[in-house]
Assembly symmetry: C5
Homo-oligomer: 356 residues x 5
C-alpha cells in the first residue's frame, strides 16, 4: 500500500494543471475508441485526436469516447480542448493516485473510480488498484483507463446487441452502465476476500503457524487498503443518486439508487471483515498461549515423575559403607518396585487432577 503515494511528492511545487503522470506507469500504447450510437445502431471506430474534433462536432447520437492508456500528454490536451475540460480535470486524470470523487463542473460531471486486481508478484498476492476517470456531458461520455479495456466489454456488447434500454436512453444511462459494471467487479474482489478469510479461519483452527499470522496481517492490510479506497465511493454515488445534477434523468436515478445499495453492501462487508481479522488475531495469540500451556504441563509431569526416581537412584549410588539394603539380595528389586509404584501413583494423580 505504501507504494501508492510514492511519486506524489515529485509534483510538489509545480503549477496546478501541469500534466504529470503520478502513480505506477503502465506500458500501454494510448488508443481512442469512439462508439457513436442511437436507437438505430452503433458505429464503432478507432480514431486519432485529429479525427476527434470532426467526428464529435457533427454527431447526432450519443458518443462514448473510450481512451486506453494515459501515456500521451499531447493527446490528452487535445481531447481536453475538444470537450472544453478544465485543466484540473486533465491533471486529475493523469494523477492516478486519487481518491474516488465526483466533481460537478456544471456542463459536465467528472467522476474518478477505482478498479481492483489481485497481482501475484512471485512471493505474495497483493491487491492493486487502477484508476478509471469518467466524464459525463450532455450527449457524450469520456472514459479514461490506465490499461487495456477489460472492464467495459459487457457494456459494449450490450450496446452492439441493443439489449435492454441502453440504446434508447441518454448518455446518463451509459454513464450508469459503466459505473454499475465497475461496482459489479467489486463483488468479485469481495468474494476472493471471503474465500481467503474462510481458508484462514480453517487454517487457524486446525493448524495455526507463524505463516498464518502473516497471512492475517496481510489480510488486515488489504482490508485497510480496500476500506480506504471504497469509503469515498459512498459519497460519490450518494451525491450522484440524490440527483443534484440535471444531467441525470429520473429514470436513471432509480438505477443509481440500486448501485448505491450495492456500494453500501460492499462497504459493510469490508467493515465486517475488519472485525473478523481482529478476532482472528486474538484467536491466534490464544492458540499459541494454549499450546505453550500444554507443553508446560507435559514438562511439569515429566519433571515431577523423574525427579524423585533420579533422587532415589542417586541415594543408592552414595558410597556409604553402612547403607541398609545394599547387601540384601532383593534390595535392588524392591527399590525398582518403589520407583515403579511412585511413577504409577503420580500418573494416576495427574490423570485424576486432569493434568494429562
Amino acid at each position: 500500500m505504501a507504494s501508492h503515494s510514492k511519486k506524489r511528492s515529485t509534483k510538489a511545487g509545480l503549477p496546478p494543471g501541469t500534466l504529470v503522470h503520478i502513480g505506477k506507469k503502465k506500458n500501454v500504447t494510448p488508443r481512442i475508441i469512439l462508439l457513436d450510437y442511437d436507437d438505430n445502431g452503433v458505429r464503432e471506430s478507432e480514431i486519432t485526436t485529429a479525427d476527434l474534433a470532426d467526428k464529435t462536432r457533427f454527431a447526432h447520437g450519443i458518443q462514448w469516447i473510450n481512451v486506453h492508456g494515459l501515456g500521451d500528454t499531447r493527446m490528452m490536451e487535445q481531447i481536453g480542448a475538444c470537450f472544453d475540460l478544465h485543466p484540473l480535470v486533465l491533471e486529475d486524470i493523469f494523477n492516478t493516485d486519487q481518491r474516488s470523487k465526483l466533481e460537478d463542473y456544471g456542463d459536465y460531471l467528472y467522476v474518478v473510480l477505482k478498479i481492483f486486481s489481485c497481482e501475484y508478484n512471485g512471493t505474495e498476492e497483493r491487491i492493486d488498484s487502477d484508476q478509471i476517470s469518467l466524464v459525463l456531458g450532455k450527449n457524450f461520455v469520456l472514459s479514461f483507463l490506465e490499461t487495456d479495456d477489460t472492464h467495459f466489454g459487457a457494456v459494449r456488447e450490450r450496446l452492439r446487441a441493443g439489449k435492454g434500454q441502453i440504446r434508447q436512453s441518454g448518455a446518463d444511462f451509459l454513464m450508469y452502465s459503466l459505473i454499475d459494471s465497475i461496482v459489479d467487479s467489486y463483488f468479485v474482489t469481495l468474494e476472493q476476500f471471503d474465500e481467503k478469510t474462510e481458508v484462514l479461519e480453517t487454517e487457524l483452527i486446525t493448524h495455526p503457524q507463524p505463516s498464518t499470522l502473516h497471512s492475517i496481517y496481510r489480510l488486515k492490510r488489504e482490508g485497510v487498503f480496500l476500506r480506504k479506497s471504497l469509503w469515498p465511493l459512498r459519497e460519490v454515488i450518494s451525491s450522484l443518486q440524490r440527483g443534484d445534477s440535471p444531467l441525470f434523468t429520473r429514470n436513471t436515478l432509480l438505477y443509481l439508487r440500486d448501485v448505491y445499495d450495492h456500494i453500501i453492501h460492499i462497504i459493510e462487508s469490508v467493515e465486517s471483515l475488519r472485525d473478523l481479522t481482529a478476532g482472528m488475531l486474538d484467536i491466534y495469540v490464544s492458540s499459541v498461549s494454549y499450546r505453550i500451556s500444554i507443553v508446560m504441563k507435559v514438562l511439569t509431569v515429566i519433571t515431577t515423575i523423574f525427579m524423585p526416581l533420579t533422587l532415589i537412584a542417586g541415594i543408592y549410588g552414595m558410597n556409604f559403607r553402612h547403607l541398609p539394603g545394599l547387601e540384601w539380595e532383593w534390595g535392588f528389586f524392591v527399590v525398582l518396585g518403589v520407583m515403579v509404584t511412585i511413577s504409577v501413583g503420580m500418573l494416576a494423580l495427574f490423570r485424576w487432577k486432569k493434568w494429562l
Copy 2:
C-alpha cells in the same frame, strides 16, 4: 458468512433488470396464495398467474398476494406486469443477497427484510438468513418468500378470525402486521444468542478449553453477521415510521413507531453482545495465562526442592577415597535426615511465601 455474496459475481455485466436468481437456491415449487378480505370476511385461494389479472382487477377489498418460492422467472414477470412493478424491483426480489432496504416508487413501496434461522450442518450450528420482499400498494400487499411460508401463519390466522383491527384497517395495517411478525421473530433469534452466551460464560469460568475459544469466535462471527443484517433495518423502519409515504395512515404510523422501538432494542442487544464476546476473549486469554503461571510455580517448586537433594546424593556418590562420613555408621541416615530437613524447610518457605 463468506458464502453469502458467493454468486453475486456471476451477474456482473448483465443489463439491469435481468432476472437472475442470486444467493442459495431453495428447492421450493413456486405457489401463489391470494387472500382477499374486507370487513365482512376472507376469501383464500391458491391461484395461477393466469387468474391473477382477473382476480385482482375487480377486487373491492384488500388483497394479499403471498408468493412462496422464487424459482419461476416467467411467473414473476407476469406478476410484475400485473401490478406494474419496476424491473429493478423484480431484479431485487430475485437477488436474495440484498441489504434490508426501503424503496419508494410513488405508487407503491418496496421493502426488503431478512429472517434468520439456525441451521445445524452436521458439525456446527450456523445462522442463516432468508430474504422476504414486501410490496405495499394502495389496496394490495405482495409478499415474496424464498421458502414455504412459516412466518406469516399468525397473521393469516388473525385475518381469518377477524381478531383485532386488522380486517377493519387498510393494506398498510396488513403491511405493518407482516413486518411486526418478522421483527418478533428476531427476538427468538436473540434469545438463542443470549442462551449460547450464558452457556459460554459458564464454560469459560468453570473449565475453559480450546473448543471454548472456537465457540467464542463463532459467536463473534455470528454477531458480526447479525449486526450487518440488522443495522440497515433501523433506517428502513425509521423512514417508514416518519410517515414519508402517503400509503400509511396516522393510526398505522403509531404502530410502526412501536416496531421501530423493538428494532432499536434488538440492535442494542446485538451491540452489547459484541462487547461481551470481546470481554470473553480477554478472559479466555487471561485464564490460559493464569494456568501457565500455576504450572510454572509447581515446576519451580519441584525443581527447587529436588535439585539440592540430587546434588547431595551426587556428592556422596563421588569416588574420593577420603570422604568424611562414608565410613561412619550413621552417615547415611544423617545425610538422609539433612535431605528431609531441606525439603521440609523449603516447603515451609514456599507456603510462607504463598507459592503453594
Copy 3:
C-alpha cells in the same frame, strides 16, 4: 442480562394491543392509590377501578393515580378506558422489557423509565431493573410500578407537607418530580459501582487472583447492561426538555434541563467506567505475565547454579581407575570448595545482572 429478553418470544404472532405480561413476574397484589391535591391540601385514598371513573370525573385539582403491581389485566383495561389510553400504551406497560422511551400521543405523554436494584442471588450480586411507566395528561399523572412503591415516598411526603412549589404547580411539575426522584436513584447505583471499582482496583494491585478476573468481567457485563439501559434515557429527557409538548410549562422546562444534565453526567460516568474496566483487564493480564516472568527467573537461576555442581559430582562419581585427585587426601574438600566458589560466583553474577 441474558434473561431479560427471555419471554419476549412468547408474544410473537399475537395482535398488537394484546395485554400479555412480558418480563419476570413479580408477586405483587395490584393496588391503586389516588392522590388528589391542589394549593389547599391533599386527599389520599386507595381506590378500586369502580371508584376511578367517579373520582376522576369531578376532580378539580391535580390527580396522581399510582398503580402498584401489574398482575390484573382487567383493571388495566378499565384504567385505559377511563383515561382514554391507546391500546399500545397498555401493551407497553405490561411489557416490562422495554427500552426507556417517550411517546407523545397528543393529549398525553407516555414515558417508560427503568429503576435499578442490586440483588444478591446467593452466589453473586446482580444488577436488576424494574420498569416504571408514567403517563402525563392535562391534570393527571398515572404511574405504573411493577412492585410496591418504594421510590416515590419522598415525592408523596413533599406533597403532604406542601414543601416547595409542588402543590402550587401543575401536573407537569409532579411528572418532573417523579422523573427527578428516579434519576436521583441512579446516583445511588452509580456510587455502588464506583465502590466496587475501587475495591477491585485495590485487589488488582495488591493481590490479583482468578476471582479478580471474574469480578472484572462481571463489572464489565453490568456496565454493558447499565449503559444499554441508560443510553435511551438521554433521548427521552432531551426531547422532554426541548419543550416539544405543550403539556410542560416554561417553569418546569427549566427544571427538566437540570434533570437532563444529571442524565448526561450519569451516562458519562458509566462510559468512563467502561474505559476503566478495559484498563483493569489489561492490568490483570500484565500482572499474570509478570508473575510468570518472575518464576521463570527463579527457575533459571536455580537451574543455572545446580546444573554445573551436579555435573562435577557426576564426574567424580565416574568409575575410572585413573581419575586424578581421587586418592588425594584433600581432593574432596577442594572439589567442594570449587562447587561453593561456582555457586557464589554465579549468585554474584546474577545480582550484578539484576536477575535476582
Copy 4:
C-alpha cells in the same frame, strides 16, 4: 475519581432548589470581595451581604462580586435574592459535583467550570477538581469559588493596572477574562501530564517494572477523569462563542473564539494521551513477554548443554564390571575432552542459530 459522586445520593428525594452542599467540603470561611470599576478606576472592598444590596443598587460601573467559600447557605440566599437568581442556580452552585455547563436564563448566563489541581495524598499524586460558578448579568459578574481565590489574581491585577482593554469594556469582557484565565490553567495541568508521560515512556523503555504498570493505569485513569471533565466544556464555550446571548458584544465574541480554539486544542491533547497510554500498556505487556522469552532461551541453552554431559558422567558411573575404557589410563581425560567438545560445539551451534 470514584469519590466524586459520593455524596450525591444524600440529596435524593429533596425538593429541587434545596441548598445542600454536595461534594467534598472545604474549610474556607466565606468572604465576598466586591470590585467596582469603570474607565477611571477600581474600588475594591470586602463586604457583607448587608452591604451588598446598597452597594450594587446605585453602582454605575461594572461590578465583580467574587465569593470565596460556599459554607454559608444564608449568605447565598441573600446574594440570590439581590441578583434575582433562579433557585436552581443557587442549588447548582452548592452542588460542586456538576458537569461544566452553560445555562441561559435570559437576563443572565450561568456557567459552571472546573479547575484542576494535583494533590499528593502521601502515597500517590491524584488529580482533583474544584468547581467555579460564574454568573454574567448586564453589568455585573458573580464568581463563586470553593476555596480561596488563587486563580483570578492576574485578572484582578490587570483591572487594577488598567492594562489592556479590560476596564474600557463591559461585563462580558470581564467574563471572558475569567474564563480565559481558567482555560489557561488547563495548559499547566496538561504540561504536568505530558511530563509524566515522558517520564513513563523513558522508564518503560529502559527498565519496566510492576510499578510502571500501575503508573500507566493511574495515568489512564486520570486521563479518563480529565476527558470526562473537559469534554462538556467544548459545548459550553462553543455555544458562548456562537453568540446566542445578547450579553456578549461582537468584540468579545472574537476573543471567545480564541478560547474555543484553546479548548479544542486541550481536548485533542487529552485524546492523544489516551491513545498513547493504550500504546504504553501494550509495550509493557510485550516487554514482559520478551523478557520471559529471553529467560526461556537461557534456560534451554543451559539444559541443552548440561543434560548430555550429566548423562555421560552418569554412564561412566554405572557399576558394570565390563565397561570399556575404565581401566585405560587416559579414559577419564578422553571423556572429559568429549564433554568439552560437546559443550563448545553446542555453544557454537547456538551462536550460529542466533540463540545466544
Copy 5:
C-alpha cells in the same frame, strides 16, 4: 510531542493580545521580503518596516509580504498597524503552538497551517512541526514563517517566470498556491512514513527485536502527532472551499476543492497507518509468544529424552551388591543399546506428533 505545549503556561494570566513568543524559539533574524506583481512583471525587494507603509500604500498590483523569523515584536506591531490586523491575529502569529485554523475577520482571512520536518537529534528521528501564518486581504497576502523560507521557493519561481495563471489571477490565487505548496509538502512526510512502515513490516516478519517494538511505538506516537496536527486542517480547507468568504473567486474555489481532496487523502492515509501500527503491535506480541512456544517445545523434547536416560544410568550406578547384569560381559552395551533405542523411539514419536 510532549514538548509542544511546554511553554504555553508561561502566558497564563497575561491580557489577550500580548505578544509573547510561545513554542520553541528559532534563531532566525527577522526579514521582510516584498513581492509586488501584476500581469506585466514582478518587483522583489527586501524591505524594512519603515518602507512598508510607503510601498504598500501606493501599490497597484498584488503584494506578497513574506516575513521570515518571528523574533522582532516591534516589527510585527508595525506590520499589524499597517494592515490593520486585530491584536488576536498578532498574538496567534507569535503563539506557534496553535491548531491549524481559519478565522474570518471580514476584510481579511487569517489562516494557520503547520509544516513538518524530520529532525534527527542524535539518537532518534523525531517529527517536528513549524507554524506558518497566512493573511489574505483584498490585494495582498502576508505570510509569516518561523524559519528561513524553504517552502515557498517554487511559488516564487512561478511568479518570476509567469508560468501558469498565477500572475493573471488575484491575491486569492496566490493564497491558494501557498496553501497548495504546503499541502504538497505533506505528501513528502507521508511517503517518509510509508517507507518507515514498510521497513518495520519487513523487520517484524524476518527478525523482530525489542528495538522493533520501540520503533513501532515511536511510529504510533508520530502517527498520533500527525493526526492531531492534520485533523483540524480538514475543517480549515473545507470552509475555505465552501466559498464563505467573498475574497475567493469562483475560479480559485475549484482549485481549493482540489486541495481539499488532497487533505482528505492525507488524513485517510494517516488513519490507515494507525490501524496498521495497531496490527503490527499485535504481530510483535504474537511473534514473541510464538518464539517462547518454540523454545518450550525444544526444552520439553530435551527433558523428555534425557530424563529416562539419566535415570537408567543412575539405576545402574546404585551400589547394590545383587544387581542383575552388572557382571555380565555385554551388560553395558545392552544398557547403552536400550538408551539409544529409547531416544530414537522418542524422537520418532515427537516427529510423528509434529513436535519437532
